[in-house]
């Protein structure tokens, strides 16, 4: 766990990382610690400590009126899992589907920006980044208009018999898209697509164009060049893009709330409701811990499998 996900250069330190101090004094050796102190203190107090508090909350019992006490009541975890496993499963499935769609949609665009855009490169990059700066809630609400019942999109999908297929797959219901799993997956894909495109683009951009020429000179077909040269070299981007898409998508509750229905609730929705409406803090804390553990587990497994451990 040295470098982070999106940054461009691999962890290659300059040969002499510290500029030779002119007079090595004792004071100088403390400099990094003074630089780190305020920021790390912030992270420890407002990131690490809260996780400890949450762990303790998850094993408490009691009620809002009487107060909560730590009773090491681990059954909360079991109850949370048995009550809400459909929402957990849905989170993983929806986030997984959105991640695959992001990869399929994002790869051509990243490839286009990296190799084919020419002088349009800057403009297209701006158009990919700019939505970051506009409220994602407003844009998600716009999907309500786009996918509205009887609207042009639904009409077109209907006449192309796409909705028959998706209904058969169980992701839409009848001739509507809103309030179905498809709408939620569409929203998730849309919202996290830039997180896939940007790492893909940085890893594609680093590929030496001469490698493509060399492959062509050796009579490789374009598809072979892609399979044997481009794709393997872009794997770091694929891995970090997948993580950057899957992790936030699995915890998201905004898309499921705005575009879905009660049948599409994800685990984020449950945590939000338990915490802010039902005020059942132990259950909410347990759910949130299970989500965190599940994601850490899946991410570790995925990084092992994809063989780019030095990436994270």
């Amino acid at each position: 766990m040295t470098t982070t996900l999106t940054e461009a250069p691999p962890a290659k330190d300059p040969e002499d990382p510290a500029p030779a101090p002119r007079k090595p004094r004792k004071r100088g050796r403390l400099v990094p610690y003074w630089l780190l102190l305020p920021g790390l203190l912030w992270l420890v107090v407002f990131f690490a400590l809260p996780l400890v508090y949450q762990a303790s909350t998850s094993v408490q019992t009691g009620s809002l009126e009487e107060g909560f006490k730590v009773t090491w009541h681990f059954a909360t975890y079991w109850d949370a899992l048995t009550d809400y496993w459909p929402q957990f499963l849905r989170s993983v499935l929806y986030a997984g589907a959105a991640t695959v769609l992001c990869l399929l949609l994002g790869y051509p665009l990243a490839y286009l920006i990296a190799f084919r855009a020419g002088r349009w490169r800057g403009i297209i990059l701006v158009l990919v980044i700019a939505p970051f700066f506009t409220s994602f809630l407003i844009r998600t609400l716009a999907w309500k208009t786009i996918l509205a019942d009887g609207g042009p999109v639904v009409g077109a999908l209907n006449s192309l018999h796409v909705l028959d297929v998706t209904s058969w797959l169980g992701v839409t219901a009848g001739d509507r898209v809103l309030a179905t799993p498809l709408a939620v997956i569409c929203g998730l894909t849309y919202n996290f697509l830039p997180f896939m495109i940007l790492p893909l683009y940085t890893s594609l951009e680093r590929i030496d164009g001469r490698l493509h020429e060399a492959a062509g000179d050796l009579y490789a077909k374009p598809s072979t060049t892609f399979r044997k040269v481009t794709l393997p070299l872009s794997m770091p981007g694929v891995v970090s893009g997948t993580l950057l898409t899957f992790i936030p998508a699995a915890g998201d509750y905004v898309n499921a709330d705005l575009l879905g229905s009660t049948d599409t609730r994800m685990v984020g929705n449950v945590i939000q409701t338990q915490f802010l409406r039902v005020l059942d803090y132990p259950t909410a804390a347990a759910l949130s811990f299970i989500l965190m553990a599940a994601i850490l587990f899946m991410v570790t497994f995925y990084i092992r499998k994809s063989g780019t451990e030095d990436l994270v």
Partner: protein
Amino acid sequence: MAFVRWLRRNLVVIAGLCTLAYLLLPNIVVTVFSFNKPKGRFNYSWQEFSLDAWKDPCGVADMCGSLSLSLQIATWATIGATVLGTMIAFALVRYRFRARGAVNSLIFLPMAMPEVVMAASLLTLFLNMGAQLGFWTVLIAHIMFCLSFVVTAVKARVMSMDPRLEQAAQDLYAGPVQTFLRVTLPIAAPGIAAGALLAFALSFDDFIITNFNAGSTVTFPMFVWGSAQRGTPVQINVIGTAMFLVAVLLVLAGMLIGKRRNKQPK
């Protein structure tokens, strides 16, 4: 046949442009519907063209208040996260010290954690401390989750910096302060600016963490969220459109400046 060959050669371009269209479609819809005159409380179907919302963008109760609150929080969060994050980034790249790996993990973890987990755990901390939820708790939370992104952006830039430039400055009898202000800081500036811009955008747009820790304080994303239940005023689309335009212009300006800098002889 020629068409099929052309299609095959440009398949990537066509697919890429389709994705771009998918990305921009909501922005187009938001813009178009900012000129709508809806009949009911919800602005989801087209009725008739009108400039009313553009003429009176603050005509909705509480909306511009929440907007200015979000701008304030984003500004302070950006300043806080950028200062703290830049310090951490310099320490990590420039110095060897014990626990470097642990520090790196602590920086990485907030980015690899679902927002809802961070939001919920921070709320348990605040509840346990008996803190009053509001402006300060939101600001604290925003600085916390922006910090890692700033560190990443600045680190990437500082890592690619040639340490010999600073040695040269010192050989020319520049003091440590002078070296830092005249050499180090200007070179690191684009990274710091990128980090700050990212922090601003993340803070301004954050909903999940704010929703948990804001109490009864209403930021702009929370106003939009509430309006999705109560009825969306057209003015929301006006703000959305304006934000998109400002963002495009800002990023374009940044790119132009960057391009001009790069053209100068090194």
